[in-house]
Symmetry: C2
Subunit: 261 residues, 2 copies
Amino acid sequence: MRWIRFDTNGRAAYGIVDGDTVTEVKGDPFVGYERTDTRHRFSAVKLLVPVEPRTFYCAGLNYAEHVIEAARKRGQEPNLPKAADIGYRANNALVAHGEPIVIPKDATERIQYEGELVAVIGRKAKHLSEAEALSCVLGWTIGNDFSERTWQANDRTLWRAKNTDTFKPMGPWIETDFDLDAAQTIIRVNGSEKIRFKTDHMLFGPAHFISRMSQYLTLYPGDVVWMGTEGAPENVKHGDTIDIEITGIGTLTNPVVREGM
Amino acid sequence: MRWIRFDTNGRAAYGIVDGDTVTEVKGDPFVGYERTDTRHRFSAVKLLVPVEPRTFYCAGLNYAEHVIEAARKRGQEPNLPKAADIGYRANNALVAHGEPIVIPKDATERIQYEGELVAVIGRKAKHLSEAEALSCVLGWTIGNDFSERTWQANDRTLWRAKNTDTFKPMGPWIETDFDLDAAQTIIRVNGSEKIRFKTDHMLFGPAHFISRMSQYLTLYPGDVVWMGTEGAPENVKHGDTIDIEITGIGTLTNPVVREGM
């Protein structure tokens, strides 16, 4: 099942997508819903971020090649994470499929995409074993962990490097039927393929992360867990368009705009 | 004006405190409110966390002595932050005044309080100058940035060291009339004073932090900014009670309980 969150007359609603038809629901996929008689054409609705999380979790470094390449660029030895220690991103930075990533005037040219699988938590959960961890996942979406590398290298935290407004595109929808084992992540800039990797080629998979997190943290409906990216991203610039495709989910597309251009 | 958020028949409501009387309002201090005719005795209401933030910001290292003492304990040179780079905490960890801080069974004995001033954002804001930054603050509350130091030193992120469920007491209320310049923060364990400092003796004050943050981030009503702590905290243990007093606001009190004791 494919869930979208969309704007209808200035109000956010959830809908179920079937081909080009969206069936609006009363309620939402987290607390419960009923299908209404209201239908929309998918191509006519304005998509919103599929969920505004209570907590926005992000694995950060979770694919070996990405860690090794980033270390090489800094002239350092790679330091692969030894445990599934989750990190955080911030809600202010979220934008939907199609919305622009807006680069502040004082950002450097070192601005880059990161294509990530996102687990969307569907129910309250604590103390889950790894075997049962994915039972709390409602479905899967796509994130672009957009980053300003100069700030990332020099600031004490990742606040503006990762969480500047619009730096966290997420969407286009939540797909509940997804085969992680078969999935590939493909990143394109202006239609040209830049990075392709097996989505499940992670250091620590979603079941392991969620189980470990849930030993200490209560997960809540609507929380999201971004699973990290692979490869060595390149800089993008004003006017570029970034596609993050995860096969079996869809494609998250966002243009890049520099403030004041 | 003193705002509380409280439980009334399983529903969260906001109220205005006047002596021992709480006037329940319709709405909230962020989107707007009307006073109702419903009154409660303050001593009879169950306090909730005064706000569930959209984004939970935390300055982390923001008082010189705290940074110097923490470095000394690790046998390292202190490294004072050179800029107001904000960090993050997570909503799952929030608990209200009076609720227990629950220590997981596998936590070490190195568990410590940190008493912090908290700015509560009242309106949407971006690109604020330092002079106008505090105009977006609704009021002030108190936070205890409770920490497991062994995890803090060894994990790649602060996820469980700082964000284990119940590790972020906040409250008891939001005070809108507050003189930061005159305020003192006093931390007591079982009634015995442990740390006292001038609350505004920060490396970077709230106006500076909020102005800098707002150059990149949109602040939203209900966001909170925890301003850091001073001094060298000591370990606490099962059965202890921690008071964080900030003069002009009030006292946040939470007992410490170890799981399985």
